[in-house]
């Protein structure tokens, strides 16, 4: 029981990190960034390339190396998110929603198969494995690397909350989410803030990618597809557009999955997740923390 809760929370913190980027972008420009899961994949591959290039990292230094690599990968995926927004999404900001969605699907395809062309279609083994003695707390087996990864995830989420709630550009983000045109009148540099949102969201996904690579040990160019879907589910569970909602949704989804997989069997896990998504949209489409949003004309 405790084991299920713990593993659910742990997986959920990955989902939450990816869901944050989804939710932030959606909150600001109402775009479902299908390529978001692929940015997570990109982060994992950047981390992989860096670690492979450095080579031979002693086990004692692996955590430090991993954190350093994670920071670089975050900057890398963040920059990539900026470019993606500028090239693919910005020209379509005023066109129909369908066009923007199709572009996002195209971007997702291009990133996935571009990566498979670059790195080959076979799974890669992550060069840094976190190992350590696991210990038992309240009947749950917990390993130190899980704790470290979770602390990192929590720190990132805390930092984001601080940034959005307490800083000037965070305030600009919240304002744009409410009314982009009024922000333009008030002298907010809307384009810049949107770019910044893409940067932060992509950086968080990249961090999650590196962490997932180090934790699961192998990465493939399609790893972003399912996690993108699940992150969206998490964002919807929490209420899309809401940052605390995305965190809560990620953890909730992790727990749901962990229990669902236990009772139904592992091969039904994804079916269970999407089933939850469909049920949720039937009964409470605004999610746990979402507010009722009326569509503006």
């Amino acid at each position: 029981m405790m084991q299920l809760i713990w593993s659910g929370l742990f997986v959920g913190s990955f989902y939450a990190l990816v869901a944050l980027g989804y939710s932030m972008v959606y909150g600001i420009i109402q775009l479902l960034n299908f390529a978001h899961g692929d940015i997570y994949m990109l982060g994992a591959f950047i981390g992989f390339a860096l670690l492979a290039a450095v080579g031979g990292i002693p086990a004692s230094m692996s955590i430090v190396a991993l954190l350093a690599v994670m920071l670089i990968a975050m900057v890398g995926t963040g920059m990539f998110g900026l470019v993606l927004e500028r090239v693919a999404y910005k020209p379509l900001r005023n066109s129909s929603r369908l066009a923007a969605l199709i572009t996002a699907v195209g971007a997702s395809f291009a990133i996935e198969y571009g990566m498979s062309l670059l790195a080959g279609p076979n799974p890669e083994v992550y060069p840094v494995q976190l190992s350590g003695e696991s210990f038992t707390v309240l009947g749950a087996r917990i390993s130190p690397q899980q704790i470290i990864l979770m602390v990192v995830a929590l720190l990132l989420m805390g930092g984001l909350t601080y940034y959005v709630q307490r800083t000037r550009s965070g305030r600009a983000m919240r304002a744009i989410a409410m009314d982009p045109r009024a922000c333009l009148y008030m002298g907010v540099n809307v384009d810049k803030v949107i770019s910044l949102t893409f940067f932060i969201g992509s950086a968080l996904a990249g961090a999650a990618g590196v962490m997932a690579g180090a934790y699961y040990g192998s990465i493939t160019f399609l790893m972003g597809f399912i996690i993108g879907l699940k992150a969206f589910t998490a964002a919807v569970i929490g209420g899309i557009g809401s940052i605390p909602g995305a965190m809560l949704g990620g953890l909730t989804l992790g727990l749901l999955e962990s229990f669902g997989a236990y009772f139904l069997g592992g091969q039904w896990r994804d079916v269970f997740t999407f089933g939850v998504l469909i049920l949720l949209l039937t009964f409470r489409p605004t999610g746990l923390l979402g507010e009722r949003v009326t569509e503006r004309v």
Partner: protein, 397 residues
């Protein structure tokens, strides 16, 4: 400033009546103005609308491509093609292309006409193939009798997925259909006692009518013509649907859902109709596919496949029937004809989608509204969403 200010009230006074007449003859004239307006603006109204609509300066090529006989030409080409390329391989490629055309035509209703992004269209294809395959092999039903079951299954699936999501913003539908596609595939993969698990179902039978044996292995040519007839009917049906009253309601919903609702179109029912129509066509295409392959397995119905169908619709020209037919043939036949591009194919498709949306969002062969004065006989004087009155007038276009 001071020199301008005395002029500005004058200008606004003068511009007012002009604006009024523009209202009567402009966009508002399209919706049959109330009789008082109509009398006042009648001459203006008649003079302006006829030349505006019918004598648009089209190039020769455009007129040729918009010719109504084009469908027959395409059909004739499809009839003759297997007589020229007689090899079994070529006929197989063409049969696959035809089935793909049917899928694209079905998805075109959902994405092209109604503007709903469906990323799991292969799910309906899978439902059709599996329903008919399971009933035919496990229960021994004749394959033709499974068709009603397939239709019912597709409608049920469309209701389950569309029911909750079509009330929400269209973005939700995109991602829920993506999840739905995965659910169907994983279920087919896991439900071994019924669906045969990862190895799928084997030995799906075909059927014969009198001397005509539609066995795809023994008589690929006969089977090709069967597929051709079914697909041509499906394409014709979607094209007619798209031009009818319901089709215009779909386009209206795509362009502006709120305005459509304000005009009295029940948007939820309209979207649901599009989704169900697409589902039925997808399911029937699945039956053809099962017969053609004589076997189905979960790997036939991945997200990639859904994305390829979407690609055919988007690149061909959303809502344009000739566009999506050409798009589907190109996209389905290319990998068979050009081996060795492998992963490049999907990368190029992804880039093409972005480029198409940024530079040519209407597709290579876009839909053009072809309403002529004569077609408005029925006119929107009755309720704007009324099946019985509008269709006969519209189809004559």
């Amino acid at each position: 400033m001071s020199t301008e200010s005395p002029q500005s009230p004058k200008r606004s006074k003068r511009s007012k009546p002009a604006k009024d007449s523009a209202l009567a003859s402009g966009p508002y004239a399209e919706v049959d103005p109330p009789s008082t307006w109509a009398v006042a603006a009648e001459t203006e109204y008649d003079k302006q609308r006829a030349p505006k609509v019918s004598y648009r300066q089209d190039s020769l090529a455009t007129r040729l491509l918009n010719n109504r006989q084009l469908g027959w030409v395409g059909f004739a080409v499809a009839v003759i093609a297997p007589l020229i390329f007689v090899s079994t391989f070529a006929v197989g490629v063409m049969t696959n292309a035809m089935i793909f055309v049917m899928l694209a035509a079905g998805l075109n209703i959902v994405v092209g006409y109604c503007g709903l992004l469906d990323l799991g269209y292969a799910a309906f294809y899978a439902i059709g193939a599996y329903t008919s395959g399971v009933l035919a092999t496990k229960l021994g039903w004749p394959i033709l009798l499974t068709i009603p079951a397939v239709v019912v299954g597709a409608i049920l699936a469309a209701l389950i997925i569309g029911g909750p999501t079509l009330r929400l913003r269209s973005d939700y539908l995109a991602i829920v259909t993506l999840g739905f596609g995965e659910i169907v595939r994983i279920t087919a993969n896991n439900l071994t006692p019924i669906t045969g698990g990862p190895s799928g179902i084997y030995g799906i039978p075909s059927f014969s009518i009198g001397p005509l044996d539609f066995n795809p292995v023994k008589n690929p040519h006969t089977f090709y013509y069967l597929v051709l007839v079914v697909v041509a009917l499906a394409v014709l049906a979607t094209s007619r649907l798209g031009r009818g009253r319901l089709g215009r309601a779909w386009r209206f919903v795509r362009e502006d859902e709120d305005a459509a609702e304000a005009m009295g179109i029940r948007t939820y029912q309209t979207k649901m109709a599009a989704y169900i129509a697409g589902a039925i066509i997808g399911g029937l295409a699945g039956v053809l596919w099962g017969m053609k392959q004589t076997a189905v397995s979960p790997t036939d119905f991945t997200f990639l496949y859904s994305a390829l169908i979407l690609m055919a619709v988007v690149l061909g020209g959303m809502g344009s029937v000739p566009g999506i037919v050409i798009g589907a043939i190109v996209i389905s036949a290319l990998p068979d004809l050009m081996t060795g591009i492998g992963a490049w194919r999907y990368f190029i498709f992804g880039v093409l989608l972005i480029v198409a949306m940024v530079f040519r969002p209407q597709g290579v062969w876009p839909y053009k509204a072809r309403e002529r004065p004569g077609t408005r006989r029925g006119g929107p004087t009755e309720g704007p969403y009324d099946e019985s009155s509008g269709t006969s007038a519209e189809v004559t276009a």
